[in-house]
Subunit: 372 residues, 2 copies
C-alpha cells in the first residue's frame, strides 16, 4: 500500500524500515541526494540507479521559478521530465523564500519575495505551494512552513504557530491520497518546549510522515543533537521521520541513533564542485598537491565507477577545472552517504549499530577536516 511504513528492526532508538511509495520502496534509514532543478548536479539518472539511490529530492522554490511547475506538469510531471522513475520528494519552498531572496515579506497568508533570478516579485502561500507540488507530482511533498534562524526565540515562537496554521491549510488544500503524500514539519529552533509543542501539534494531524525542520541552519552540532533528543520522544514510531537538510556523515550517525529515517542534503554535490570528498578517514580536498601522484582511488573502501580512477587523475581534473571532476566526485560522495546509511541499516538489523557508530566516528572525526 502506498506510503505504508514498515519498521522491520530496531536497535536502541534506531530503526530499519521500508517506506512504500508509488514509485518504489525506500529502505530506511536512507540518504536522498538533491536534484534542485530536476537534476542532481552533474549526475545522470542512470548513475543514481547504479548508486542505489532510492529517493531524490527536488526544490519547489527553484522549479516554480524555472522552468515553472506548469511546464513540468505539461511535460508529464517531475518523474517523466527528469527521467527518474524512482521516488521523489519535493520541499515546500518555505525554507528558500527566506534563505535565497534579498527581499521577502511574510504575512499571515503567505510570503511575497523577489525572485533571485530576474528580480520579479512572486508569492507563495500554503495553497500555492500545494498546487505547485501537485503540478510537480512528487511522491512525497512537504507542508509550507516558516523556518527562521534557530536561536531567536521570539521569532521562532511566532514561526511555530504560523507553521501550524499553515499546516492545517496545506492539509485542507491537499488530498493526501494514494498518489501523493503530505508530510508535516516540526519547527521550534533549539528550544525544547517549542519543539515539544510543535511535535505534538504536527503529529496530531494524521499524515503519512513527519519531518524535523529548522536544523542545520546555524546552530552547533551539539545543539542539533540535543534538539533531536528533545523532539524525538514526540515523533510517532509508526511513521517515517525525516530530518531536513542534514547530510554530514557524522550527523547521519547521530540522527539515525536517535531514530531518524530519512535525510537529504546538497552536500555531496556541493562539496564535489569544490573538489572535496568524503573518506572514511575524514574529508579531503583533492585540489591538495599531496594527491598529485596517488594511484589509489578517493576511498578504496567504496566500489563505484569513480573508484576506477586515481586520486592523482581526479586532482588533475579538479585543478584543470574539468567537468569530469564534478561527475566523479559527486558520484563518489553520493555513494559514500548512501552506502553509509545502507551499512547502518544492516547494523540495525544485526543489532550492532553502536559498534558501527563507534568505529565510523572514531575514524571519520579524528582527521583534520580543515583540509576541505
Amino acid at each position: 500500500m502506498a506510503f505504508e511504513f514498515e519498521v522491520i528492526a530496531t536497535d536502541g532508538n534506531a530503526r530499519a524500515g521500508i517506506l512504500h511509495t508509488p514509485h518504489g520502496d525506500i529502505p530506511t534509514p536512507i540518504f536522498a541526494p538533491v536534484g534542485t532543478l530536476a537534476t542532481v548536479k552533474a549526475v545522470p539518472p542512470r548513475d543514481l540507479e547504479e548508486l542505489n539511490a532510492s529517493l531524490v529530492l527536488s526544490n519547489t522554490y527553484h522549479l516554480f521559478l524555472r522552468p515553472g511547475d506548469e511546464l513540468v506538469h505539461d511535460m508529464g510531471g517531475l518523474h517523466n521530465f527528469m527521467r527518474w522513475n524512482g521516488p521523489i520528494l519535493t520541499d515546500s519552498g518555505g525554507f528558500q523564500v527566506f534563505s535565497l531572496t534579498d527581499i521577502n515579506k511574510i504575512d499571515e497568508d503567505g510570503v511575497t519575495f523577489k525572485s533571485h533570478l530576474d528580480g520579479s516579485m512572486k508569492r507563495l502561500t500554503p495553497e500555492v505551494s500545494m498546487k505547485i507540488q501537485q503540478n510537480l507530482g512528487a511522491d512525497i511533498i512537504m507542508a509550507f512552513d516558516h523556518c527562521p534562524p534557530p536561536k531567536d526565540r521570539a521569532t521562532v515562537e511566532q514561526a511555530v504557530d504560523r507553521t501550524h496554521r499553515w499546516l492545517e491549510r496545506c492539509r485542507e488544500a491537499h488530498p493526501d491520497d494514494e498518489t501523493q503524500a503530505l508530510f508535516g514539519i516540526v519547527q521550534g529552533g533549539i528550544y525544547p518546549d517549542l519543539r515539544e509543542k510543535s511535535a505534538k501539534f504536527v503529529t496530531n494531524i494524521d499524515l503519512k510522515g513527519y519531518a524535523i525542520g529548522g536544523l542545520a541552519v546555524g546552530e552547533t552540532k551539539p545543539e542539533m543533537y540535543a534538539t533531536l533528543d528533545h523532539t524525538m520522544p514526540y515523533m510517532p514510531n509508526e511513521k517515517p521521520r525525516y530530518l531536513m537538510g542534514v547530510g554530514d556523515p557524522d550527523d547521519l550517525v547521530e540522527a539515525i541513533m536517535r531514530g531518524i529515517d530519512i535525510f537529504d542534503c546538497v552536500i555531496p554535490t556541493r562539496l564535489a564542485r569544490h573538489g572535496a570528498a568524503f573518506t572514511h578517514d575524514g574529508r579531503i580536498n583533492l585540489r591538495n598537491a599531496k594527491f598529485k601522484m596517488q594511484e589509489e582511488p578517493i576511498d578504496s573502501e567504496l566500489d563505484n565507477y569513480a573508484t576506477n580512477f586515481s586520486r592523482g587523475y581526479i586532482r588533475h581534473l579538479v585543478v584543470a577545472k574539468e567537468l569530469l571532476a564534478h561527475y566523479l566526485i559527486s558520484i563518489h560522495n553520493i555513494d559514500f552517504l548512501i552506502s553509509h546509511t545502507h551499512k547502518m541499516r544492516q547494523a540495525i538489523i544485526d543489532g550492532r549499530l553502536q559498534e558501527y557508530a563507534d568505529t565510523f566516528l572514531s575514524r571519520y572525526l579524528q582527521s583534520d577536516s580543515t583540509d576541505s
Copy 2:
C-alpha cells in the same frame, strides 16, 4: 600487426578500412573525439565505449603544461591515467603553440612561447615534442610541425620547408616501433603546388600514416575541399590518411568522399557547452525557446543515452546552466559524428556512398544553421 592498415572496400576515392593499434582496431573512416586534458570534456570513458568511440585524441601542448608529461608517464601513461584503454592519438603541440599563446617566437630549432596558464616561458622543439609524446604514451603520435594561417603564401612556404626539416628530426628522435607510430603532417595552406611538394616530401618518408594539417584554420569550405582535391593524389593508398581538426558533419562527407580515413575535432563537446547540437536536419541551439515543451529527443534517428531525454528537459538544463546539459549534449554530438562515419563506412562497403552523401547533405545543409 600493430599499425597495419587494411583497406577492405573502396567506393570511388573513399575507402573503408581497419587500422590496427596496440590498444585495439580502429574501423575507418572514423571520427575521434578530443580529450584535450586527458578527458573528453564532461564525458566519462565508459560512455565513450558505449558510443563506440575507437580513437581518442589528446593534446601535447596542454598536457605538457598541466599536469606535465612526466607525471602522466609516472602514472602509467595516458591510457592508465585517464582510464581509456582504447587507441589514443596525441598531436604534437605545433598548432597550439601558435594558436593559444600571446607570445611565441619560432626559430630553426623550435618555438619559445609563453604558457597561457601561468605566463612562464616554455620551449618546444621536434625532439622535445617526441619526448613528451613518448612520455604520454599514445598509440599514434604526430610530428612537430609549423602550421601558419593558410593564406599567406610566403609564410606558408617557409612553414612547409621547416615542417619538412622538423619531420626528419622527429623521425630521427623517435623509434616509430610496434608500440608507438609516428605520423607525418602535410602542410601547404591553400596552395596546390605547396601541397604537392609537401605531400611528396612527407610521404617519401616511410611512416605508418600521414596527416593533412593546416586546414579548417581560416579558409573557406570550398578552399578546403579544393585543397583536398589537390593533395589527395599524392597521399599513398596503403596508408591511413588523417585530416586534422575537422569535424563538421558536411566536411566529413566531403573529405571521406575524397579518401580521408581519420578525423578529430573539439566541435561536438565545444558546441555542447554552448547548448548546440547536431541533427540530421541541421544544427540547433537548445537554448531556443521553441524547444521548451518538445517531448521528442534531440534527434530521434540516434540511439544513445541522451535520446532518453526530451528537448524540453535539455533546454531547461541549458537555460539553468546545469552540468548535466554538457554531458547529455556532448554524448549526443559525439554519437552523431561517430555514427555518421560508421554509416559512411557501411555505405562504402555497400557501394552507395554517393547516395548516402546526397541524402545527408540535402537535409543537413538545407537548414538555417544560423540557429546555433
